[in-house]
Amino acid sequence: MNYLMRRLATFPLVLLGVSILVFVAIRMVPGDSITAMLGTEAGLLTPAQRDSLAAYFGIDQPWFVQYWRWIGGILHGNLGISVTYGRPVLDVILERFPLTLELAVLSMIIALIVGLPAGIFAATHNEKLSDLGVRIAAMIGQSTPSFVLGLLIIYTLSAGFGVLPAMGEFAPLWQDPLRNLSQLILPAITLGFAFAASVTRISRSAMLDVLSDDYVRTARSKGASARSVIWRHALPNALIPVVTLSGIEFGYLLGGAVIVEQIYALPGLGRMVLDAILQRDYALVQGAVLFIAFNFMIVNLLVDLAYVGLDPRIRLGEQ
């Protein structure tokens, strides 16, 4: 508990660093929100009009003043107003986030359901033909770009067989679960494919390591069956690298998956951030990056807590 409090106490520090980085980085990109919003018509503005617009958005001030105002707003729970949407940044993010979260969870479930047994299977059939098959499949899975796979799936399933609707207005999970799942299952498979390949490779190598450990030999000397040796003695010891990898991948997915969202026309975080950058919607980019960083830290914390559950030798917060 003590450890948890201390970990949470470091969050503001990290977020402060992230906020400065993103704040400076996005202002180093040429162009500004007025030009981006009005396009060629921006050239028709008189300098006075331009100045008053800049004053309205607050971008006429030096950057540290802008930063100070922004941080002050955040401390009051106000992430600012999105220029493109004309609504509070937090509202825009929270509207997009459930889809991204659901997609990330589904992909991870697919990755673990497929990848973990495949990795264990390959490890227990080490150097046999079936092991080679799994390894080749994992290699293909890791090296296929998601847009190729996504288009391939859409083409074969939707166009070829007419199963599963791939397009149409997005339905949130709590309104129409069936329709929601049918919309998300293909993107989740697309994302989960590469994820499963990584899980396969890491669980295979972790299992191979563990299977040659002394305590596995002890388990066999007791007369434990092959199944018990794998599931009871070896797997819990092999899970730590799998959890580490899954945590990192899951954290990335929470930042949105631009290409897959684009292919399946899904309103997720990834496309929102991309649009916000193109539109120089400073407040939305900054808010989204902070939000994503915060999620990543939460995932990291959960991964560390999972270690404690998996391995009694790990005691968090001890020197």
Binding site: R217, S221, K222, G223, A226, H233, P236, R313
Partner: protein, 582 residues
């Protein structure tokens, strides 16, 4: 009467062509009910592979049984063909009829499961016990191996117990279902000598209680005297000699058995101690190394911000001096502070208090500014695999900002010759050398700067027994030739007896007894020294009854500001003295 286990012409190979790579080449033996067979041999002799073949665990270790026959008499008297058995049949035999314990108790238990659940598993597998019944059976099993407070210990995970305790847990697991055969593969090699004595005593007692048979594998022929009925000596995959215990120990016929018994260091209660180079009684000699009131403490902090709540007193007031040409052995068990003392002398850990003075020899012109050098325990890990021997030997010279010139090269060549390695070694890499040769290289490296003191930290412990003897001889020769002073850190009394002039016994960070080797080993005065010496296995102590002692080593953690009481010493003639107890 049919033997419990009959092994005939066993052959085991490894790799893709097991027939061509046999490491066990035709081993045969019979084991009767209640009998103990000791298999003795050095690494690579095939003794462990033989053991793992009996319960067919070798199938999982990359080995393949290429020929022979193995039959086990089951509890109901029927004969079981171990060679032809299927894997499901074998899982019914393992644990139920054949139990096994291994060398490394620290790694042989599953780190993520409680020891209770690991013991219960045996009862579940072979007795069908579950729930409370299994827990009760597990507690009884721990009681049986004399683990105090068994009910509470069931909930511990392996990292919470010491090596000796874990080996008891392993024995409890192996014997849970009363197997009629226990295979013990070097069960005490990784343990301290007093803990070894306790495990040996426990095994002997359990064997009496249960009437089981045992196959005891060891590299230490001294250890078999206490437990074996029959002995089989293995070399290069073959049994070169087997017979009754007394016959093998007293009238060995095969030259290799004779070599193991005679040339290898065995503990002889001080009668084999060195008599050369005794300490000069005149006081005109300046010590090569003098250590005064050495204290090394590691502060304990619960987290980065808080103040130290106490300290681990690793070394707590150690004094000694070391004359040129003399060996001082520091003996003690793991955690006693002997290696920390050595590291502090070399400046590898910072001492909290105390002073050192190192005498510089006047006679030698080439004396360097680094008069203390070190040889480490593991010759495989202490040579950089990417450097040639030439670069490795040049390293100390470069590190002291010397130039690698013709003189350096000449010294490399002469040292290589002196430690008994071929002259063409310079362009080769460490992996081309055997363990013994590597340790010779490490010795040559330590001598490159012409030191006056060489610290040898368990320098022969990782070597096979017959290689050990040769490296010890080399060390003695080099000492005479160069007038070296050795600080020899070891847990092995037999080795210490061969090389030490003086012995310091260290316990819980303090020297409890120090004096000339023959006197300390033959007439130990301090109770800990006595206990340590009594625990050393020797070929003369046959079937000796060991007392089971479950006392734990005292904690070295002391509260902040704690100072030990000043030592009071009792003199026992010469320079032999022991700390007054009480």
């Amino acid at each position: 009467m049919t033997p419990l286990l009959s092994v005939h012409d066993l052959r085991v190979g490894f790799g893709r062509k097991p027939q061509a790579n046999e490491v066990v080449r035709g081993v045969s033996f019979d084991l009767a009910d209640g009998e103990t067979l000791a298999i003795v041999g050095e690494s690579g002799s095939g003794k462990s592979v033989t053991a793992l073949s009996i319960n067919r665990l070798i199938d999982f270790g990359g080995g393949r049984i290429t020929g022979g026959a193995m039959t086990l008499k089951r509890a109901d008297g029927s004969l079981f063909d171990l060679m032809g058995a299927t894997e499901p049949q074998l899982t019914g035999i393992r644990g139920a009829e054949i139990g096994m314990i291994f060398q490394e108790p620290m790694t042989s238990l599953n780190p993520v499961l409680t020891i209770g659940s690991q013991i219960e598993e045996s009862f579940r597998l072979h007795r069908g016990l579950t729930g409370r019944q299994a827990t009760a059976a597990a507690k009884d099993a721990l009681d049986r191996v004399r683990i105090p407070d068994a009910a509470r210990r069931l909930k511990y995970t392996p990292n919470q117990l010491s090596g000796g305790m874990l080996q008891r847990v392993m024995i409890a697991i192996a014997l849970a279902c009363n197997p009629r055969l226990l295979i013990a593969d070097e069960p005490t090699t990784a343990l301290d000598v007093t803990v070894q004595a306790q495990i040996m005593a426990l095994l002997a007692e359990l064997k009496r209680e249960t009437g089981m048979s045992m196959i005891f594998i060891t590299h230490d022929i001294g250890l078999v005297a206490g437990i074996a009925d029959k002995v089989m000596v293995m070399q290069n995959g073959q049994a070169v000699e087997q017979g009754e215990l007394n016959q093998i120990l007293d009238r060995p016929r095969h030259p290799y058995t004779q070599h193991l018994l005679q040339d290898v260091p065995h503990f002889a209660n001080g009668s084999a101690a060195r008599v050369d180079g005794q300490r000069d009684k005149g006081e005109h000699m300046k010590p090569a190394l003098k250590v005064n009131g050495l204290v090394v403490r590691f502060p304990l902090k619960s987290n980065f911000f808080s103040r130290a709540s106490g300290a681990v007193h690793a070394v707590d007031g150690v004094d000694f001096d070391l004359m040129p040409g003399e060996t001082l052995a520091i003996v003690g068990e793991s955690g006693s502070g002997k290696s920390t003392t050595a590291k502090a002398v070399l400046g590898l850990v910072r001492s909290t208090r105390g002073s050192f003075s190192v005498g510089i020899r006047k006679a030698s012109a080439a004396q360097s500014a680094k008069p203390v050098q070190m040889v480490f325990q593991n010759p495989y890990a202490s040579l950089n695999p990417r450097l040639t021997i030439e670069s490795i030997l040049a390293e100390p010279v470069i590190a002291t900002s010397g130039r690698v010139d013709a003189g350096t090269r000449a010294r490399m060549a002469s040292l290589l010759e002196r430690v008994g390695l071929p002259a063409n070694s310079l362009q080769r890499y460490p992996h081309e050398f055997s363990g013994g040769q590597r340790q010779r290289l490490c010795i040559a490296r330590a001598l490159m700067l012409n030191p006056s003191v060489v610290v040898l930290d368990e320098a022969v412990s990782a070597l096979d027994v017959s290689v050990q003897a040769k490296v010890l001889e080399l060390l003695v020769d080099l000492q005479r030739e160069f007038g070296l002073a050795y600080l020899f850190i070891s847990h092995d009394m037999a080795v210490v007896e061969r090389i030490a002039h003086r012995i310091a016994v260290i316990y819980a960070g303090q020297i409890v007894e120090i004096g000339d080797a023959a006197s300390v080993l033959s007439m130990p005065k301090h109770s800990y020294t006595k206990k340590l010496i009594a625990a050393v296995p020797t070929i003369d102590r046959r079937r000796e009854h060991f007392e089971i002692d479950t006392r734990q080593v005292p904690s070295l953690v002391r509260p902040q500001g704690f100072e030990p009481a000043p030592a009071r010493w009792e003199q026992f003639g010469g320079d032999h003295k022991a700390r007054v107890e009480g």
